[in-house]
């Protein structure tokens, strides 16, 4: 890795004066991280004029001998720091400290993407890298993030996994993939991010809305996935990962290949294939829970220091079975399903995926260009296009048996541009703008009323961010952003619904057509959103640091919150949006305390989030139809407070053992009605003990205990309903949360060197070792079936 730094070093002035003296002076020094004062290991100190170089040791120290007195130009570089040119005047043996700025942005020299603002020390963020991500090669983004304190997931079964950051998910989270904001109908709980985790080399999770570059509406936070860096040398390299797992009897295969040249040209291609059959709980088969997934990506470009461009294309298709027993006809079926200890339909294991299922294809094209201006900064321009085509299949009869019930095609275009003024090392600014257009088309040939209407959406945003290093201990960030959103929809409302919602009073001017039992309506809404952020980090001493930040953000209601209108079969409920919803406003404050010594690292994060007009979906009653009664769930608004604490501890014991604890607690209150908020993650604590033995094939083994507490603070939305076939009135319990549960997991791997450039890593993972029955509160299928039983995964990883 160090080697490639040389290629990035652009200039090193010749101002060496030779006075014909004896050249035996020694220069010693320590290279230190500018922000936290820790010594930097593996930094390169290079004197180009003499072609001499040294590398720092574990204490950050280096030594260069046989120097002549006079002025020397040093180039100091490190993989994750800003390369620095320093002139040192030496008259005798000299010792100097050199500060490098720890700086992800500077990776622009070697990486395809530089995710500018997330370098910031003043936001709550966590980074996952290579090996951790590779362990989840056969799973989802949501699975990989669950081991971060404060991150949980909301699931529909086990293949549809949505990340939850500090209790917030879906439209409140921005997912950035390769610098593109993912536009994939993220509003729905059963719409998982369309992203192959294998395309990410690094994933950064940012809590709260403090990364304004990506958007102003990320009330929950931002997930940034970045591909691997490009090596700026002539090389050809790649990796393959093959995983097989017992539960679901599935496999996953990923392979990637990269070619790069010294001049900066590169190309890389990736592919991932997954196939899973029916998963199994400890006692029964979860029928129709299989998965078929295909993903491809291709990226190429020219990477130079002064300018460059990238072209990127990805394709991902997921065909996901939805538990057969979760498909319901009416409230009676729901009551029967909830009261049945086992799913009402279980068949023998099968790889077949039948209805109900979803089949989603996401394609993304991106082109970007950057140029640096000497002593000024860097300009970036990017255009991206995304197409998300979602089919959902219900159980239907007759000729429509194989016809999709939902067929939505979402196309999104976006242009973004930013300019970063980074000439001064202690004062940086970034300004940028974003323009986006989106079109949703709901195919009427499904023969089922549209759940989401056709619409056009326009977004325009401007932001400015300032980063100030006030002194060696203190960094300050401030940001401001303005967004304009406009949505223009055309939607059919049944006249009875239009009246029941009392829309004729406020929205009668929106009606543009009369279709017998339905109105055609043209809602046009505009929203102006302002967001701001401020953060400060302070290094108390070598081991202790704190940060505080504040974020203001606004989120306009999404199409689902505004327009949902219809029967959702997999939930046996009628879901209703509300045209009257306004944007929600979040004020979030948070603080971090970090302790870091050689063997111990502790991170305590706390936050408080006040959200006005908080939009949520909750049961409000029942409606009678010819199918029988259905519960009605409405998108409503209230004022909410969320607060919580996340704790992470890593303790080395000796040189082989590592103890870890990750715990999080969160509370959500509806302060307007003095109730608990729905869908708030349970408190959770993860404890693990790991053993590593580098000498022996880089061996490691970890045993992990995951304890999830019962969520006792839930809103009571239970209601009573009359069941005609039994002539009884029963309580429909859609609220009571499942019991606490405790899972034991195990992971071990070892790496074998097959040749000079080829490594084979063999890994074994066992989850739910004790094969216990459990149900997770935030899994929507918990009403119908237990979660997964024991699973063995064997993974082979070849690097070449």
């Amino acid at each position: 890795m160090i080697k490639k730094i040389f290629f990035c070093v652009l200039f090193c002035c010749l101002s060496f004066t030779n006075n014909a003296q004896e050249c035996n002076t020694i220069l010693k020094g320590t290279v230190i991280d500018y922000h936290d004062g820790t010594p930097i290991y593996g930094a390169t100190v290079y004197i180009k004029s003499l072609n001499k170089y040294a590398t720092t040791n574990f204490e950050g120290k280096f030594k260069i001998e046989q120097l002549c007195n006079g002025e020397i130009n040093l180039t100091i570089s490190h993989i994750s720091c800003e390369t620095k040119n320093v002139t040192v005047s030496i008259e005798k043996d000299t010792y100097r400290d050199f500060f490098l700025e720890h700086h992800i942005e500077s990776l622009k020299e070697v990486s395809i993407v530089s995710t500018a603002n997330i370098k910031s020390k003043t936001i709550q963020s966590t980074v996952l890298k290579g090996k951790t991500i590779e362990a989840f090669s056969n799973q989802n983004l949501g699975d990989a993030l669950k081991d971060i304190a404060g991150i949980s997931s909301i699931n529909t079964g086990n293949s549809i996994v949505k990340p939850v950051i500090n209790g917030l998910h879906s439209s409140r989270i921005i997912v950035m993939t390769n610098r593109v904001r993912l536009q994939d109908q993220e509003w729905g709980i059963e719409h998982a991010p369309n992203l192959d985790i294998n395309t990410a080399e690094k994933i950064t999770v940012i809590k709260g809305a403090n990364s304004l570059e990506f958007g102003g509406d990320a009330i929950g936070g931002v997930i940034v996935t970045e591909p691997s860096n490009v090596l700026l040398k002539d090389s050809l390299y790649g990796k393959s990962i093959l995983s097989g797992q017992s539960n679901g009897r599935g496999y996953s295969f990923h392979s990637s290949l990269s070619k790069s040249t010294k001049k900066g040209w590169y190309v890389n291609a990736k592919t991932t294939l997954k196939k899973m059959g029916d998963f199994e709980s400890p006692e029964y088969v979860l029928s129709n829970s299989g998965l078929n997934s295909k993903a491809y990506s291709l990226q190429t470009g020219l990477k130079k220091f002064e300018s460059g461009f990238n072209v990127y294309y990805t394709f991902i298709n997921n065909e996901i079975g939805i538990l057969r027993a979760s498909h319901l006809g009416n409230i009676e079926d729901l009551v029967n399903a909830i009261n049945s200890p086992e799913p009402l339909i279980t068949n023998d294991f099968s790889y077949d995926i039948n209805s109900p299922k979803q089949d989603v294809t996401h394609q993304l094209v991106k082109v970007d260009y950057y140029k640096r201006f000497k002593k000024l900064g860097k300009l970036k321009v990017q255009y991206d296009f995304q197409n998300n085509h979602r089919f959902e299949y219900d159980i239907r009869v007759g000729n429509d048996r194989n016809k999709a019930s939902l067929d939505l095609n979402l196309s999104s275009h976006a242009i973004t541009s930013s300019f970063k003024f980074d000439a001064k090392s202690d004062e940086k600014y970034k300004v940028g703008f974003m323009g986006a257009y989106q079109n949703n088309f709901a195919n009427p040939n499904t023969g089922i009323k549209r759940l989401i209407p056709d619409y056009d959406k326009y977004d325009l945003g401007f932001f400015t961010i300032g980063n100030f290093i006030l002194n060696d201990e203190t960094t300050l960030d401030v940001g401001f952003r303005y967004d304009f959103n406009a949505i223009n929809a055309k939607k059919f409302y049944s006249k009875s619904r239009w009246e029941e919602r009392n829309y004729e009073l406020d929205f009668s001017d929106l009606i543009i057509g009369d279709f017998n039992t339905q109105w055609l309506v043209n809602p046009k809404f505009q929203f102006h959103n302002i967001s701001a952020s401020a953060g400060i980090s302070y290094q108390l001493n070598d081991e202790n640091s704190v940060l505080f930040n504040y974020g203001l953000s606004n989120r306009a209601p999404n199409p689902s919150e505004l327009f949902s209108d219809g029967l959702h079969h997999s939930a046996a409920r009628i879901e209703l949006g509300d045209l009257r919803l306004q944007q929600e406003t979040s004020n979030r404050v948070s603080a971090n305390y970090r302790f870091k010594s050689a063997n111990t690292s502790i991170l305590v994060e706390v936050f408080f989030n006040d959200i006005r007009n908080f939009m949520y979906l909750e049961a409000t009653g029942t409606e009678q139809t010819i199918r029988g009664a259905f519960p009605v769930w409405e998108h409503k608004k209230t004022n909410a407070n969320l607060f919580g604490a996340d704790f992470s501890l890593t303790q080395n014991i000796g040189s082989h053992f590592i103890l870890k604890n990750i715990s999080s607690f969160i509370r959500g209150k509806d302060i307007k009605n003095d109730r608990n908020l729905i869908d708030i993650p349970s408190a959770k604590t993860l404890n693990s003990i790991g053993y590593t033995l580098e000498k022996w094939y880089d061996f490691s083994a970890v045993i992990e205990s995951e304890y999830v507490f019962r969520q006792n603070l839930f809103p009571n939305n239970n209601f009573e309903t009359y069941i005609p076939t039994t002539d009884t009135t029963v309580l429909v319990d859609v609220s009571t949360t499942p019991s606490s549960y405790h899972l034991l997991n195990f992971n071990s791997d070892a790496t074998f060197k097959l040749s000079e450039k080829t490594n084979l890593t063999v890994g074994l993972t066992v989850t739910n070792i004790l094969n216990i029955n459990y149900r997770e509160n935030l899994n929507r299928l918990r009403f119908f079936a237990d979660d997964l039983g024991r699973n063995y995964t064997l993974q082979l990883k070849l690097n070449y």
Binding site: I345, V397, I415, D456, K490, F492, R497, T625
Partner: protein, 194 residues
């Protein structure tokens, strides 16, 4: 610095142009969406009861023209039932938003192994038995018999289940308890036997 500014301005101009083109592109898609033809919508369930000794048919009807909309179905029973009488019954399910109404009973009968009607009376107002069967010899329920005995009042619930487990205990005899499957139609009729 001056050339830099020019370059930057040029880029902004180019971006503005692209944005403008994107706006034009959207301006073309102003067509109104097509109305969805709801093929599987069931609006109406009609049970016709013909007294075996002759007389006027009794019609039980549930009509819900707005489908999944907020309006509750309209339930009607044309007359009271008579004590100690056998009735032959026929069921019909329709989509009356179409003109002429779409007879969905035909589809039910085409896939008769996957469908079954269930009749659930309360207060022992009547007993119901099946008069038809699918290819496997299991009941469907489009044709049925209903017999009354003493005077009583209560309700009769008629339920159409899709993919019921017809072989489960009691299902053949019309007991819905173990039937499973999904409810396609359910209507509760108030009945008086006198």
């Amino acid at each position: 610095m001056h050339t830099l500014k020019n370059k930057y301005m040029k880029t902004i101009k180019n971006l503005a142009l692209v944005l403008f083109v994107a706006t034009l592109f959207t301006a073309c898609s102003e067509d109104d969406p097509e109305v969805v033809n709801e093929e599987e919508l069931i609006t109406t369930l009609t049970a016709t009861l013909r007294p075996s000794g002759g007389g006027t048919d009794i019609i039980l009807k549930s009509v819900d023209l707005d489908g999944d909309g907020p309006d509750a179905p309209v339930i009607s029973v044309s007359a009271n039932l008579t004590v100690n009488t056998n009735y032959t019954g026929v069921l019909k399910v329709e989509n009356e938003t179409e003109s002429p109404a779409d007879d969905i009973t035909i589809e039910v009968l085409e896939e008769d192994e996957e469908h079954q009607f269930f009749f659930t009376p309360t207060n022992n107002i009547a007993t119901v038995s099946y008069n038809d069967m699918d290819e496997d010899g299991n009941p469907i329920g489009v044709q049925f018999s209903l017999a009354t005995t003493t005077a009583a009042s209560g309700s009769l619930t008629i339920t159409l289940r899709h993919e019921p487990m017809k072989t489960a205990s009691g299902v053949r005899n019309g007991d819905i308890t173990n039937a499973g499957g999904e409810t396609d139609v359910q209507a509760v009729f108030p009945i008086t036997v006198q």
